[in-house]
């Protein structure tokens, strides 16, 4: 196992309790920071560390913090995005479930850096059982004086609450999350103004992913400069990867950014290879929104170098031959899986989750779902493949939030790299019409 900054103590007994957490070095950053470092110094450490948003977009966290409007008297808010809904992603859940105090410690440090008096953790409604764990941990932190008035005599005060959503993927988009926290439908807002200027209740607001906030703890512990030495280039530090699909060892792994993709899939330390001795066919490396890659493009960059688990390497070649690190939702497909069917389930997902504000997304996601359903169920026409391409092209870039792009990219990539499977479906409909729509391995091969 490589360097573990977040998950080092995850399996220690009673790590979910505050005493267990403190025993393993938890909350020691409070003494280092509160009253000793200025909020700007903390922000500077995060900037120096080169931490990039772990929710999917990869935007530098420290830089985002500097956008917070400090010119007004209005309260400022830090919102932790624990909406984790991107298919293939289940890493934040592990932290919150097993080591909730790491998130609370990160929230205290980050809220201090941003000058927030009140902060919220917005958690997806389906994770209600984790909300209970977090609320219990927050209660413990209040009892120890780590939350509330005048934390550890530093003069800094913070209240922390957990707010549940109710089953809407779109609430992971930061302005939709704010709307939802305000008790409304999760309709994303038009930007600008950005939340850093006008967010929750019109006040300056920063929204950060669970993992990003947790990572502030090791950054403060080891210093931003030391953290920046881990990883490669602009991909610094460690990243949690949620590995799922047809692999021997699905689960959450903390990797040092820069690990070769091939090693991640085949090493026994990580995914442990493809289940049942089958061949690797394809992979969605960063959550359902990012382009799917066939094996040969997944393992090697276009210049022949091994592809690495970094923001840069995974996106090398653009969408023609590359993909994205995204949220780290790493979904692996074996040779027996049907790309058409998988693409249809993703399209159905985005259709279900579109908020309905922008016509290209509202109408386009329904259309993608219907056409892909037809192709998958042996009802498609040859011209449907080009139609799909046109629809996704009409959605991409034409909506106020990235859900439209997220719905378009998986369809585009599937057609780009696996067009032959779509052609097979429309040319041999009787073969895909069998009772359970079970995928036949022969569909893997180009068929005239």
């Amino acid at each position: 196992m490589g360097l573990q900054l977040l998950l080092e103590h995850i399996n220690k007994p009673e790590i979910e309790t505050i005493d267990g957490y403190i025993k393993h070095g938890g909350y020691r950053t409070l003494d280092k920071v509160l009253g000793k470092m200025s909020p700007d110094e903390v922000t500077e450490e995060v900037k120096t560390a080169g931490l990039r948003g772990r929710g999917g977009a990869g935007f530098p966290t420290g830089l985002k913090w500097t956008f917070l409007d400090k010119s007004t008297d209005k309260p400022r808010y830090l919102l932790c995005n624990a909406d984790e809904s991107e298919p293939g992603t289940f890493k934040d859940r592990l932290i919150m479930q097993k080591i909730p105090h790491l998130l609370i410690e990160g929230m205290i440090l980050s809220s201090y850096a941003l000058g927030c008096r009140t902060s919220y953790i917005y958690i997806r409604g389906e994770y209600m059982f984790i909300l209970r764990i977090l609320e219990k941990a927050i209660k413990e932190a209040y009892a120890k004086g780590f939350l509330g008035e005048n934390i550890k005599g530093s003069g800094y005060s913070l209240d922390l609450y957990v707010h549940p959503g109710a089953g809407a993927y779109i609430c992971g988009e930061e302005t939709a999350l704010i709307e939802s926290l305000e008790g409304k439908r999760g309709n994303p807002r038009i930007k600008p103004p950005f939340p850093a200027v006008s967010g929750l209740w019109g006040c300056p607001t920063i929204v950060n992913n669970v993992e990003s906030i947790c990572t502030v703890v090791p950054i403060v512990n080891m210093s931003g400069a030391e953290y920046a030495k881990i990883g490669i280039g602009r991909s610094t530090g460690t990243k949690l990867i949620s590995a799922s699909g047809n692999i021997n060892k699905p689960g959450v792994y903390e990797i040092e950014l820069g690990l070769p993709v091939e090693e991640f899939i085949y090493s026994d330390e990580y995914c442990g290879g493809i289940k049942g001795g089958l061949e690797l066919k394809a992979c969605v490396p960063g959550g359902s929104s990012v382009p799917i890659l066939p094996k040969h493009l997944l393992l090697k960059e276009s210049n022949g170098n091994p592809r690495l688990m970094t923001y840069e390497s995974l996106s090398e070649g653009g969408f023609e031959t590359g993909s994205m690190l995204g949220s780290g939702g790493f979904i692996v497909y074996d040779e027996k899986q049907c790309i058409v069917k998988n693409t249809w389930t993703f399209a159905r997902f985005y259709h279900h989750e579109s908020c309905g504000q922008c016509s290209p997304c509202r109408e386009g996601t329904i259309w993608l779902d219907k056409v892909l359903y037809n192709i998958e169920h042996g009802l498609g026409k040859e011209s449907d493949i080009d139609l799909l391409w046109d629809i996704q092209h009409g959605i991409e870039g034409n909506t106020i939030c990235p859900l439209g792009d997220a719905a378009a990219w998986p369809v585009a990539a599937a057609i780009r790299h696996f067009r032959h499977e779509f052609e097979y479906h429309v040319r041999y409909p009787h073969r895909v019409k069998d009772e359970d729509h079970v995928y036949q391995p022969e569909m893997n091969y180009r068929t005239a």
């Binding site: 994770y127 439908r185 997902f349």
Partner: protein, 167 residues
Amino acid sequence: MDVHFSQEALKEINRIIAQYPKERKNSALLPVLHVVQKETEGWLSPETMDKVASILEIKPIEVYEVVTFYTMYFTKPVGKYVIEVCQTGPCMICGSDHIIKYLEDKLGIKVGETTPDNIFTLRAVECLGACGYAPMLQIGEQYYEHLTEEKLDQIIHELGSKHSDKY
């Protein structure tokens, strides 16, 4: 029809409301609806929603529009246990189709339906964030992961036999 909530629920609602600034009481809507739905047999009638509106001092329409946006609120009666099977990509490639079919056959209902004895409702839902432990389903606040036919039999028996010999 008058709607009444238990003392316990009212206490919980007040605790939730206190988490937001006084003038932002309406922000408590989502968590309050979760509490209320549990009180009212798992679904929200127009009367219940009106009551929530009066507690939070907002217009009833503001509650209706939220309830109809989010998938976890039900506006029609549901069974005692709502079985929600994840069917998105990562679960699909690990066999969620079979899980759904098995439950349909076992319960004698289709996805979206409730058993005649009102004990189970079967739903197929989108990603629940358990992709590494697929296939999976959720009932209430409980996740059931690494599902097999045996496990499904066990879950249905465990919950159903409390209410009917049929299971």
